[in-house]
């Protein structure tokens, strides 16, 4: 279907400085069992087109679900008129942006396609997972789900570019809540951060029945635990909390559109300024952060971004020093500095902006036991449950589902409601230990919000366990 529409678009290309068509079809199915009862199965088929025009220095776009010849022509004309009518008011000369015209294909490697399992088999698996979770009368709520998505796009440009990409995504989830009459605690698989580009082979790696029982047992364990004590000391973060830490206090502040001010009315600005790149010490020598859309099966892997820039691995922080921003081709043009291939839109109905994609902390050399063994007194935390950070991405407070005290180099009792707070600009400089590849996990979330109009998008974060010194930690009320 896409090829016919693209051919038509190419034939009717308007006489403008630059024009692109991004066709997107996203099909999804979500199956959830809550307390053993199947929730309504959600089936979705979302298809539409985004036309972008750069003309006379302006930029305009039009999104439409009408893929007929007349529908596409009308959208193209709307985009052209927007570019013309706002050209004299534009923040930059968009006609001068060197837009690429790429050719290529990308497809998620999948060995067991979603379609290979009948719906009944998925329901049966979730029924078994759900059945494993009612381990105690104090388990008051529990759910198990599978969320599959296939996102196909075809990007065509006025200069002969054509990129076809298909991403297949699977998000398995189990979660349990336990209550003792006054307190409720929750425990979930990876803080609901276990999301990959994958087919059903992912379920060979993650046994939802085993995981279901484990999260329920840990929910009871947490219910019976003491609150995390108030203290300042060493904090050891598991990869499923590092994901959030990277996302909020490295990813967002390094987005170039935030630094250029585009997001100040909504998602916020950044404590990072353009002059910091190349010299600013973001973290300790142990901190190496990469933008890497090439990791097999990570959630936001792709071959080209939504402006057609080929994706490649780039260091954004190396040896603790800030190297480059997360900025797309348009932001790079505006800022006059190199960036990465991160222009992305949530779907056909939104324009692309600077996003994180896969942003990872590179593994270090310490085993998990080495990290724990180096701590005299501290807390180990897993799985994000609460996140809050200021609009400059500096003062943060995060909470986790599960914690354990570390005493004299050994993991101690479980503690509940573990929270910590800090300031991005100093927190990463207190990174004193980075786990090796044995502690490294590839995770992601489908829910990163940003942009005006608002967009929620998939991002991937892979990380080893990491150890921080002098962190302020505390528990519940």
């Amino acid at each position: 279907m896409f090829e016919t529409i693209a051919a038509r678009f190419r034939a009717d290309m308007p006489a403008v400085d630059f024009c692109s068509l991004r066709l997107v079809r996203e099909r999804s199915q979500e199956i959830t069992l809550r307390q053993g009862v199947l929730e309504p199965v959600g089936n979705s088929d979302d298809v539409g087109a985004m036309v972008v025009v750069h003309h006379q220095g302006g930029i305009g776009y039009a999104a439409t679900g009408d893929l007929s010849p007349s529908g596409l022509a009308a959208a193209t004309e709307r985009a052209r008129r927007w570019a013309e009518r706002t050209a004299t008011m534009a923040v930059t000369d968009f006609s001068a942006v060197p837009m690429p015209h790429p050719q290529g294909t990308f497809r998620t490697p999948v060995s067991k396609p979603w379609s290979s399992a009948p719906l009944a088999a998925s329901i049966e698996l979730l029924t078994r997972a759900s059945g494993a979770m009612k381990v105690d009368d104090r388990i008051v709520d529990w759910d198990a789900s599978l969320w599959w998505t296939e996102a196909e796009s075809l990007y065509v440009t006025s200069g002969g570019g054509e990129v076809h990409q298909v991403a297949e995504i699977l998000v398995p989830s189990v979660s349990a809540a336990a209550n003792d009459g006054r307190d409720t605690v929750t425990r979930s698989l990876g803080g609901r951060g276990f999301a990959r580009q994958a087919g059903l082979e992912l379920l060979d790696e993650v046994d939802l029945v085993v995981q279901g029982q484990q999260v329920a047992e840990q929910a009871i364990e947490l219910l019976e635990a003491q609150d995390c004590p108030e203290m300042t000391g060493h904090l050891l973060l598991a990869p499923d909390q590092m994901m959030l830490q990277i996302h909020e206090s490295i990813g967002h502040p390094l987005e170039l559109d935030r630094i250029l001010g585009d997001e100040r009315n909504y998602a916020g600005t950044s404590f990072v300024t353009l002059d910091m790149f190349g010299s600013y010490r973001y973290g300790s020598d142990l901190l190496n952060v990469t933008f890497d859309p090439s990791i097999r099966n990570q959630l936001a892997s792709y071959g080209w971004d939504d402006d057609g820039v080929p994706a490649s691995k780039e260091y954004v922080i190396r040896g603790g020093i800030l190297e480059r921003p997360l900025g797309s081709v348009i932001s790079q043009h505006r800022a006059g500095m190199a960036g990465v291939a991160n222009s992305r839109a949530t779907s056909w109905n939104r324009p692309s902006i600077d996003r994180m994609a896969n942003l990872n902390v590179e593994p270090g050399s310490s085993s998990f036991d080495d990290l724990v063994g180096s701590v005299e007194r501290g807390v180990y935390m897993e799985s994000n449950v609460s996140w809050s950070i200021d609009d400059s991405r500096n003062k943060f407070q995060f909470g986790c589902e599960y914690g354990r005290l570390i005493e004299d180099g050994k993991l101690g009792p479980v503690v509940r409601k573990p929270n910590y707070r800090g300031i991005s600009a100093t927190f990463w400089r207190n990174l004193v230990g980075v786990g090796d590849r044995s502690t490294f996990e590839v995770l992601g979330t489908p829910f990163c919000g940003k942009g005006e109009p608002n967009q929620v998008i998939r991002v991937g974060h892979a990380s080893p366990a990491c150890l921080f010194a002098d962190v302020e930690m505390f528990g519940g009320a």
Binding site: V37, M89, T184, R264, N265, S386, S388, E452, P453
Partner: protein
């Protein structure tokens, strides 16, 4: 869009067999979005989308599908029939759903607002002109928003509104800015220029040297937009029957009678305000008002059709996530004109930001001040305050800590455009609070 939706729904109803029941809904928009930065245009465009959802019910079994329509009647009918055929094939594979509930009493309604919107590009030219010399950043969102429902029992519901929302802020430097908004159905350039002039006045205060305060307890005034952030967090699972029955509500202790807040706190959902569609989930008509907290005590819950069936109570047509769409808080006795003098020495908080729970069962929340947060001494605004983190319990802030609520309330229309433009609103007072806990 209305006639096309009904025609598609009718066509699919004509394809039903046996005891099949069909519920269909529609959510669409024709919107212009213009993004501004530094008083200039960053991105300008239009989005036209029509999302159609069908739910096929056979006895206690059901399945649903959603698809994006093209606007071409013949093509959409074909896609609708294809989707109907797919869910028809799914239904025998699914177990009976004990929580299925949909409206069987036919209650139809129609609300179509007049289109008095300006040409978006012309309005933006006025905005850019009025913001001359200002570092303005924000979004213009304007156009038609549509919601529809129809079922095979003969019910028809339609809602159309034509509105604009200019959501913007003006920056002095770094994070020192004043947040503004101008929303409505009829554009008035003079009103825009009045608000822009007000922003210039507020900007003068922000140009003063910023004050830093140490973590600790402070007397604060939370303007309605700041109260909205707290209310918005409570809406995230606080008022729904499902969360309350499964002990996951952040207001659980209020619901269970273990906690109360000040008797001056009264919250309700007010669909009767008429700012959104009257037809609720499953085709159920929504009541004019649902009491949630009355005089400091739990009073009621938002009940979706599924929760109604699960817990054996009547539904009030709440959406699937059981979140308020038109939350109201009763006003108090404090005149807006007296806020500064009653605040005395403390912090005027115009906006809060990025709230989340630090201890959900205790309804203890954390978040940041944002935009114009001002230090006040002896009833006089002295200086802008650098951003501060707070960490405090709702039960304390709106319990023992509550000094007063303002008599005047502000209608805050949501600027949210996730997926589509929102029709959510809130009507809230400001709150004067003692001992507000800043932590970082």
């Amino acid at each position: 869009m209305q006639s096309a939706f009904y025609a598609l729904s009718d066509a699919l109803v004509a394809d039903l067999t046996g005891d099949e029941v069909l519920l269909t809904s529609f959510s669409g928009e024709s919107s212009d979005f213009v993004r501004l930065n530094h008083g200039k245009v960053r991105q300008a465009g239009s989005v036209e989308q029509r999302v159609f959802t069908l739910q096929l019910v056979v006895g206690q079994r059901h399945a649903s599908a959603s698809l994006v329509l093209s606007g071409d009647a013949e093509a959409d009918r074909a896609r609708g029939r294809e989707a109907l055929a797919e869910v028809r094939q799914q239904i025998p594979l699914l177990p009976e759903d004990p929580h299925l509930l949909y409206a069987t009493d036919v209650v139809s309604d129609e609300s179509i607002g007049a289109d008095t919107l300006p040409d978006s590009a012309s309005a933006i030219a006025e905005v850019v002109d009025a913001a001359d010399g200002l570092d303005l950043v924000g979004i213009w969102a304007a156009g038609a928003v549509h919601r529809g429902f129809a079922n095979s029992l003969g019910q028809r519901n339609w809602f159309t509104t034509h509105s604009f929302h200019l959501d913007w802020s003006v920056y002095h430097r770094a994070d020192k800015a004043t947040k503004q908004g101008y929303a409505g159905t009829a554009w008035d350039g003079d009103e825009l220029r009045r608000r822009m002039a007000q922003a210039r006045v507020e900007l003068d205060v922000l140009k003063r040297p910023a004050k830093r305060v140490e973590p600790g307890e402070y007397r604060v005034y939370l303007a309605p937009a700041a109260v909205e952030e707290i209310a918005g967090l409570l809406c995230w699972g606080g008022f729904g029957m499902k969360n309350q029955k499964s002990k996951r509500s952040p207001l659980q202790r209020l619901v269970d009678g273990q906690e109360t807040v000040d008797p001056r706190v009264t919250l309700s959902e007010h669909p009767g305000a008429g700012l959104g569609p009257q037809c609720g989930a499953g085709g159920f008509a929504r009541p004019a008002r649902v009491g949630l907290v009355t005089e400091g005590r739990h009073a009621g819950s938002l009940v979706s059709p599924r929760s109604a069936q699960e817990f054996g109570v009547p539904t009030n047509g709440a959406n699937g996530s059981e979140t308020p769409e038109s939350l109201e808080m009763e006003g108090g006795a404090l005149s807006r004109d007296d806020v500064l003098s009653e605040l005395g020495t403390g912090v005027w908080v115009n906006n809060l930001w990025y709230l989340n729970y630090s201890d959900l069962p205790a309804c203890r929340m954390t978040g940041m001040t944002r935009f114009a947060t001002l230090w006040v001494e002896d009833g006089e605004i002295v200086a802008p305050l650098d951003v501060m983190r707070f960490d405090d319990s709702f039960y304390r802030m709106f319990g023992d800590g509550l000094v007063a609520l303002t008599r005047e309330r502000e209608l805050l229309l949501s600027a949210s455009t996730y997926s589509q433009r929102s029709t959510v609103s809130a009507l809230l007072p400001g709150a004067l609070i003692d001992g507000f806990r800043f932590t970082l």
